[in-house]
Amino acid sequence: MHFFTGGKKVKKSGSNQRTRRGKWIARGYLFPSAAGVLLFFVLPFLIVFFYSVVDNPINRQFVFFDNFVMVFQNAAFQQAAKNTLTFSLTAVPLAVVLSLLLAMTLESKIPFKSQFRTFFLSPMMVPIASVVLIWQVLFHYNGMINEILTFFGRDKIDWLNSSYAQVVIVVLFLWKNLGYNMILFMSALSSIPRDIIEVAVLESATPFQIFWHIKLRYMSSTILFVTIMSLINSFKVFREIYLLKGDYPYDTMYMLQHFMNNTFNRLDYQKMSAAAIMMAIVMVIIIGILFLTENYFGKDVEE
């Protein structure tokens, strides 16, 4: 849009002034957000990067990438990375698939839909400390699950101090997260255009074909969102494990956040920062792949 009419320099100047003023006002409005992002996201990240390249937070001697090499070779870090990866690769797909199945089940015509929905959402309302207490009662060596096992003549299992520990954590994670994911999927399912499904039915498409070619494609962005959220939540499972077993749990429950938490407490900021940066890089790669996948599956829907 041009306001310049007849070469009057005064008018042009006034227009520029307004534009400049508008820019400054925009910057003024933007400043709080930009400052917040800088202060709470960019700056901490830079500080973490700073600590990752110095020998320790007290001496602060530049050591280049030595910390990354040291942490990468550390047996505890390797164990934590392996456990975290195993847990995420198991728990996240299960959380997505099971919640999608639940959502589809509740979308179909079954009785007590509303009650089931409330039932699956209820774990979200229970405080985590109480959840952990219940879990301790259930999975303690003399807990309810082992009582049931012994009733059927099986040996007791030390659930929280054995290789079964991660199974307990996966179950706890699913119990806590399925309801929320399910609600997201139900919302996505309800927003799929009915006419397309009706046309597909008229064209004699099978339910599987409708699910695969229509529903799944329309829900691709929701699936991506749920996957990312579940992935992030899978890293947060440290909270439950910490409440169950403290700083040093059985090795199958030892997660990356244990490593970071413990190294922080022992003033090994350099180890913590190097581990955090490596974890962030892996996260960026995984989320990047998820975005590419979503773009690939969802592009014809967007078109």
């Binding site: 800088l38 700056l43 830079l46 500080i47 700073f50 020998d55 320790n56 937070p57 007290i58 001496n59 550390n74 047996a75 505890a76 164990q79 060596y141 003399n142 030390d158 101090n161 403290g246 700083d247 040093y248 749990p249 059985y250 090795d251 030892y254 244990h258 490593f259 413990n262 190294t263 022992r266 003033l267 090994d268 900021y269």
Partner: protein, 755 residues
């Protein structure tokens, strides 16, 4: 232009970042005098009267009144006692009356009335005799009277024994006078008895608990502080009109023992805790903190009485009860602008908590140093974890204290992070040869040949057993210890031992036997650990403290019902007593340890290091140096043994010489007979201690030489894991092997993480 703007923006962002990061290293003004507008400057005055004990001290305006007792050796070793009036403004004393003329009478407490004269309570002790004149009993009476502060004359004497209750041994703990000249006498049982100006009983008021303090406020009301029933300490007005205690005054004691209370001159009450001095205004319920005792170079633990003078100064009388020659000190504290006070280089002393010995040493250092002044920052205000987190935060943000108190922190962890300075170069620079000190004790704070901490004084924690049973040795492995106990099969290993304490004894001072830090391998699944678990399980879960003790400790040890005794040795006298207790020679075998070095060193009066990032390292070293100076080390030598050995060899030798020096008395034939130096006791055993023999001193020397490790330097995380997992075994829920497996698994992560 656009590029320039972007460049400027980026530069601004970078500067912001640098500012934040560099702010981390900026020296922060800490506690103490720093940043304060006003400070209180102490001035020490010699008391104008010499007395060994000052009792019944009461203050009014610029005067104090007290009874002064002096030991008169030339008069047959009796105490001379007088009542004094002391003018604090002019530092002059006046003797009002002599109190020792009647041996059966003593002044127990007093207060100043509105006319400036004293109201006092005398205790009279009388022997009750039978018809033959034989003493068959004694009784005590209490007399309330007035004493003129002009000439010391006594008037208006009244017997108040019956008025204080039925007990024949009633006494007056505190005495106060209000603005109506009513007299308040507090007995030792929570009772307050109020008398009118003409000494007629007005009423009795009872507090719900034991009264800690009674004070008259500036306004002329009388208040008591006492432990309420389950509500902590309470501070209430004594309401004579209502004949009861008033409502709790909030803000002055608040559920804890706030301190001691004195009548204020500018506000209602002056409160002195062991930490600071404050003024409390009752009408507004506000407390004004004046200063910290430590900042004014006064040890708050030693303050007997304090108050405000009419010229605005604060005064205090202190007495160092810990000193060998304790004497009273009168201190005037003048409020001055901080800018008017001679500036000294400030040294920050960081401690989780400050022990009394180091507190005293800091005060002495501040008093004597013209160049440096130590201010203290204590981190453990709430709990240990919070305090440690705050300390760590200071380290990482560049606010590292100049001197770090190593009590309650794992010095290895901080030394390996570069927090602590190597002290050997400082010693060398100051011409201090480490050969002059007990090198094995210095070694306790060594890491990779560098010295990260110093303790001026230490004692030894060890385990004793009969030499006839265990042989002459000063160390053993865990297997040897288990074999020894199993072979002898005693009732118990130690006195009061439980399953957990025995397990703790076997493991926690020996944790390195199960962890190889070089290879990162743990051996908790090994035979030895499993055997230890099974061994501990044989003993009772809890010691039954209610059971009747038919035999004392010494008797049990002599009869082999107990095999071992965990104890500490802090003096030659204690060593002598321990030998006496077993009734035969003992071996100081120590805690089980893979290297057989189980006699452990424990700092007796704290330990300190210097912050590697300190900007005042020279000043910090001056303080640390003073702890190992000849003068200070010699001051630790005590006639009858101190609580701990000095680390300087020459001082230790002086201590040994004193320990071996016999003391004599002259018998009726005029002959010198050796007498006991002191006596020691433990449980059922007591012993007169005579001069130590050369053999005993050699034994102590050998014991000291056998030590080189610090006691209790195990990470709590390891203790928590082992305690948590072993519980299941002790409760019979799991096998020893399974328990050991879980412990191995969890500790392996800890070890891997910390390599």
């Amino acid at each position: 232009m656009e590029k320039l703007k972007k460049g400027l923006g980026a530069a601004a962002g970078l500067m912001l970042l640098i500012a934040v990061l560099s702010g981390c290293g900026k020296e922060e003004k800490q506690g103490g005098q720093s940043g304060k507008e006003f400070v209180y400057v102490p001035e020490y005055a010699n008391l104008a009267v010499s007395c060994d004990y000052m009792n019944s001290i009461t203050a009014a305006g610029d005067y104090i009144y007290f009874t002064g007792d002096t030991y008169a050796e030339e008069e047959g070793g009796e105490y001379r006692s007088s009542l004094y009036q002391y003018n604090l403004l002019e530092n002059q004393v006046k003797e009002l009356m002599k109190l020792d003329e009647e041996s059966n009478k003593s002044l127990s407490s007093m207060a100043v009335a509105q006319d400036g004269n004293l109201v006092a309570v005398f205790n009279n002790y009388e022997d009750v005799t039978d018809e033959n004149g034989e003493v068959i009993d004694s009784k005590s009476t209490l007399e309330l009277c007035r004493i003129s502060t002009t000439d010391g004359s006594v008037s208006d004497t009244q017997d108040i024994t019956g008025a204080l209750g039925e007990s024949e041994w009633a006494y007056v703990q505190y005495l106060c006078v209000d603005n109506q000249d009513n007299i308040y006498a507090c007995d030792g049982d929570g009772g307050i008895h109020v008398f009118s100006k003409d000494m007629q009983k007005l009423c009795d008021i009872k507090a719900d608990g034991w009264i800690n303090s009674m004070v008259t406020s500036r306004e002329g009301d009388v208040y008591v502080q006492y432990y309420g029933n389950g509500s902590g300490t309470e501070f209430r007005k004594v309401d004579v009109a209502a004949k009861k205690l008033g409502d709790n005054v909030a803000g002055i004691s608040d559920g804890s023992f706030g301190g001691i209370y004195f009548t204020g001159a500018t506000k209602s009450i002056l409160v002195s805790s062991n930490d600071q001095v404050s003024l409390f205004d009752i009408s507004s319920g506000t407390m004004e903190d004046l200063f910290k005792w430590l900042d004014a170079d006064v040890n708050g633990d030693n303050v007997n009485i304090a108050g405000e003078l009419s010229d605005g100064r604060i005064w205090a009388i202190t007495r160092d009860y810990g000193a060998e020659e304790a004497k009273y000190e009168l201190i005037y504290l003048t409020r001055k602008k901080a800018s008017e006070v001679k500036e000294k280089e400030e040294i920050l002393y960081g401690a989780l908590w400050l022990g009394s010995d180091l507190r005293k040493k800091i005060i002495d250092f501040n008093k004597t140093s013209d160049q440096y002044r130590i201010t203290v920052k204590t981190y453990m205000t709430d709990d240990y974890e919070t305090g440690l987190a705050q300390f760590n935060a200071d380290l990482t943000t560049g606010s590292c204290p100049d001197i770090i108190d190593l009590s309650s922190i794992d010095f290895h962890q901080y030394a390996s992070k570069g927090v602590l300075e190597d002290l050997y170069p400082y010693m060398e620079k100051s011409g201090i040869r480490k050969e002059e000190y007990l090198e094995n004790v210095l070694k306790a704070f060594e890491q990779d040949g560098k010295l990260y901490g110093i303790m001026p004084q230490f004692y030894i924690t060890t385990t004793l057993a009969k030499a006839s049973l265990i042989g002459e040795r000063n160390g053993w492995t865990l297997s040897e210890m288990l074999d020894f106990v199993e072979e002898n099969d005693p009732e118990n290993v130690f006195d009061y031992a439980s399953r957990a304490s025995i397990f703790y004894y076997c493991i926690y001072n020996n944790i390195d036997e199960f962890i190889d830090w070089e290879t990162g391998e743990c051996s908790f699944e090994g035979e030895e650990f499993i055997r230890t678990l099974e061994f501990a399980a044989k003993f009772p879960e809890e010691y039954d403290y209610n059971q009747e003790r038919e035999e004392g400790l010494s008797s049990k040890l002599r009869n082999n019902k107990l095999l071992l005794m965990q104890t500490s040795i802090s003096s030659v006298q204690e060593y002598q007593m321990m030998n006496g207790m077993f009734g035969e020679p003992v071996s100081f075998v120590g805690y089980p340890n893979g290297e057989k070095k189980g006699n452990l060193i424990q700092p007796a009066s704290g330990s300190v290091g210097i912050g590697a990032k300190s900007k005042h390292k020279d000043g910090a070293w001056k303080f640390v140096e003073s702890l190992i100076s000849e003068e200070f080390q010699d001051s630790l030598v005590s006639e009858h043994g101190n609580y701990g050995f000095p680390i300087k060899k020459s001082a230790l030798e002086k201590q040994f010489e004193l320990d071996m020096k016999p003391e004599y008395y002259e018998d009726e034939n005029g002959e010198q007979v050796e007498q006991m130096k002191t006596s020691w006791g433990y449980d059922d055993f007591s012993m007169d201690i005579y001069a130590a023999t050369q053999e005993e001193v050699d034994g102590v020397k050998a014991l000291i030489e056998s030590c080189e490790k610090l006691s209790g330097n195990v990470d709590n995380q390891l203790i928590n894991i082992i305690t948590e997992e072993s519980e299941a075994f002790f409760k019979g829920q799991k096998s020893a092997a399974d328990t050991a497996g879980v412990i191995q698994n969890r500790i392996q992560i800890y070890v891997n993480e910390n390599r």
